[in-house]
Symmetry: C2
Subunit: 493 residues, 2 copies
């Protein structure tokens, strides 16, 4: 068959390359960007895994395919993918499609370089430095260091590794065996990456001491103090506290001033996991939620979340000016970081990280920021708070919605109480029946493709929905739709 014959390589045929890429880009614009962000279109096109495998024809074969087939494959990939840029995608801590950030990502991919040396990434070495400087200024630091990491989990791990290295520089060479048992502190609402990081870094999950959170999800500084005392009494050496600005489920902000006081008293490294909440620093109105962050030693901040810069864009920021990052992670590989280069090798950032090749994650954020300015980004953050508040107030007017708590951020957590459960709060099986509602509604919304909202159990609370109001294209009409749609989907329950 003609169409199963291998396509001649496009290498060396610029006309064919351009034609292919323009055709693919046309599909992307129509299907992923226009339809993918239109409320008249579905947010997802659910297929069971076995059916989807058939539809995608995933197998990689000996023969190549024609350009026509490849274009059809591009269409299918987009068709069956979830549209995270869609205004009805409320499912994760990111949503929306910023055109300037996307433009930055397309340029990044077309240039396809690695961020390790000025030699092959001159623009991006300087740009990363400038973007990090800007983020640090928003934290409140006029100097410092930092690096973009492959996601917030690894940014958090870096902070833990830097804190232990600062205290025990020998551990880089000699490992943990010769050290006393170490203890780090974080609240029970922290992101799971702290536990994962402790295991990966060889500290073990037992080294993570879980501090109480109050009913709003904020770390209790008195319990932190108590836990530090307990760890010391057990012979462990406290070295780091990881506070959270914007917890994953409830969107809570830990009281950083009080926590910084505790850290100062005990000489502990203060890390702030602001992966989710960091972008609030752009808002004059709401940045008080992070008061005290300038006292941190390190901050993790993911502009790929609330700012929609695009996965991945995660900055680790440091107050340190002693080159700790390079001392801790460096290995001085002579094949990459030659010392007899004809430019200042301090520009080669590659030895600050535990990776070798490192993606360019700064351009998408920089270009978006250039287009929007601080002011444009601030408006987005403020607007998200306004819409979250609108959603909450509208919920209060409807009988089927029960808030988990008044949100202080853009995570709106609530139960949808279906008609059959209303007024039955006193029934012995109420909680059990209520916790089964969200999974059923989730299945229905996904199969209809009308919207996507996450749910989860949380502590002693049964499954509840968490709407994340992050997409900058959202309006009050989308909030009304969300409420109406939940009522429609749950009317027979």
């Amino acid at each position: 068959m003609a169409d199963s014959e291998a396509l001649p390589s496009l290498a060396g045929d610029p006309v064919a390359v351009e034609a292919l890429l323009r055709a693919v880009f046309g599909v992307v614009v129509d299907e992923a960007i226009q339809k993918g962000t239109s409320v008249s279109q579905k947010v997802c096109e659910w297929k069971e895994p076995e059916e989807l495998k058939q539809l995608l024809d995933l197998e990689l074969r000996s023969q190549g395919e024609s350009q026509e087939q490849i274009l059809e494959r591009c269409r299918a990939v987009i068709r069956y993918s979830v549209k995270t840029g869609h205004p009805r995608f409320f499912n994760q801590l990111f949503s929306g499609l910023d055109p300037h950030a996307l433009a930055g990502r397309i340029i990044t991919e077309s240039l396809n370089t690695s961020q390790y040396t000025y030699e092959i990434a001159p623009v991006f070495v300087l740009m990363e430095e400038e973007v990090l400087r800007k983020l640090r200024a928003l934290v409140g630091w006029s100097s410092g260091d930092g690096i973009f990491c492959p996601g917030g989990s690894i940014s958090n791990m870096y902070a833990v590794n830097l804190a232990r290295y600062q205290r025990y520089p020998d551990c880089k060479q000699r490992g943990l065996r010769t050290l006393p048992p170490l203890a780090l502190f974080t609240s029970k609402e922290c992101h799971y990456s702290i536990q994962k990081g402790a295991a990966f870094l060889g500290l073990g999950t037992d080294s993570v001491r879980v501090v109480k959170a109050d009913e709003r999800g904020k770390m209790v500084p008195e319990d932190l103090e108590r836990q530090i005392g307990m760890a010391e009494a057990e012979g462990a050496v406290p070295f780091l506290v990881s506070a959270t600005s914007g917890t994953t489920v409830l969107g809570a902000f830990d009281p950083l001033e009080a926590i910084a006081d505790v850290c100062q008293r005990h000489g502990l490294w203060l890390h702030v996991d602001a992966a989710w909440g960091g972008s609030v620093l752009l808002s004059q109105t709401h940045r008080h939620l992070l008061d005290g962050i300038q006292r941190a030693d390190s901050v993790a901040w993911n502009p790929h979340k609330l700012l929609a810069a695009g996965l991945q864009c995660s900055a680790l920021l440091l107050q340190d000016t002693s080159n700790l990052l390079k001392r801790c992670h460096g290995s001085q590989a002579s094949y990459l970081f030659q010392q007899d280069k004809f430019y200042d090798v301090a520009l080669d950032t590659g030895d600050k990280v535990v990776q070798c090749g490192r993606r360019v994650d700064c351009l998408k954020l920089w270009l978006m920021w250039k287009a929007q300015g601080d002011q444009g980004l601030e408006r987005r953050i403020d607007q998200a708070f306004v819409l979250a508040r609108y959603l909450v107030e509208e919920m209060k007017k409807r009988e089927g919605f029960e808030l988990v708590m008044e949100p202080e951020f853009v995570n709106v957590c609530f139960w949808f109480v279906p008609p059959s459960l209303r007024g039955k709060q006193e029934s012995p099986d109420y909680q059990e029946r209520l916790s089964k509602v969200a999974p059923v509604l989730k299945e229905r919304m996904v199969k209809e493709g009308s919207m996507m909202i996450g749910y989860q159990p949380h502590g002693t609370r049964g499954n509840f929905f968490r709407v994340v109001v992050a997409n900058s294209a959202l309006t009050c009409a989308d909030m009304d739709f969300l409420l109406n749609e939940l009522e429609r989907l749950g009317q027979d329950l």
Copy 2:
């Protein structure tokens, strides 16, 4: 000034979004793709850092910018960036611009999802599984596990973490303090990520025992055996050997069969860092270089290198079928990996990794593979070997070139001996003077923008060039150019 006013947000204006993206894409096609891969254009446009900062105007300001200004910024970013897709980019272990892979990357960026759940990445969960299955089949495994990681360094770290967890499952919870000292083995030619990983994972660099390599850069199995005995005699517990298929500088392949025999005798985990050389498995002619790889427990393989899939694309492959990856890294976060979902939650791969959000790295490779077929990719690999051989033979015909050794892969290592040093091999300062040649030529080629070749010192050898023959657009004419250009640039030395 009108043009310094903030641009109204594009959110909610699909026509403006499309116009912007089409304009940016036009710039990308013209500047990055067409000019960026044309030998009539420069491979780089060198600027001193201070001058480049001025040219780029990096500062992020309060006010946003007009679309015209943004487009000019896109042009400047591309203009001053290194063109890694250019045929004269010989500088790293990646080069070239595959249009299908780029198409896959653009789609990935436009869909902007995270690989952690089937719920929000149905296509890519299934696709990753299929791509990993294909890579495993090339290794020689009919079953197993695997995951795409943010680069080869982290793939290597995963292998080390999995090996220690398999031997000491308690270490996930209790850490390394309660364990005996551990020892892992790799050759002195291994990638620096093994050292970095040992430090990061809390083992310490002392836990890395450096095994001798022969004059071709291959690990000496007899010395491995000896080092294992020495480590045991010192009270350490050997647990892993990391062999390399395609070393960074020399492109050497460790003798995997002999190393696997040693591992088998001592019950050690065999990891093969085939980040660079793994793609040779596609070539029937050359895959013998990796004979024995099917006996490994884990393999790291970066299709972003020789296959030019685009940064990043790094697979960690495992022979394990006991769900080791998930047991070792999992934390069962209830907010993301709910167990009462309406589909099989075994499809949620997020708990296999230490990251939370994870980029989609499979589409670019899958789409390129669909377009090329095994056959097309095999031709590329074979062609790279042919051209590397051509380069070597042409060097032998010219008096100014001295090979470091006969290459067995596509790394061609050599000294350029300038006219003033020819025939002076016996001078006492010959080596010292020779080692100063490469940095000078490097500066000249970069400042002219004619080509980019890496150099490094290596053991007792002074600086020599390493040409990486990886770009699938290369021809013999490019090899001739390279030799002529070195002669031209070095004629006065």
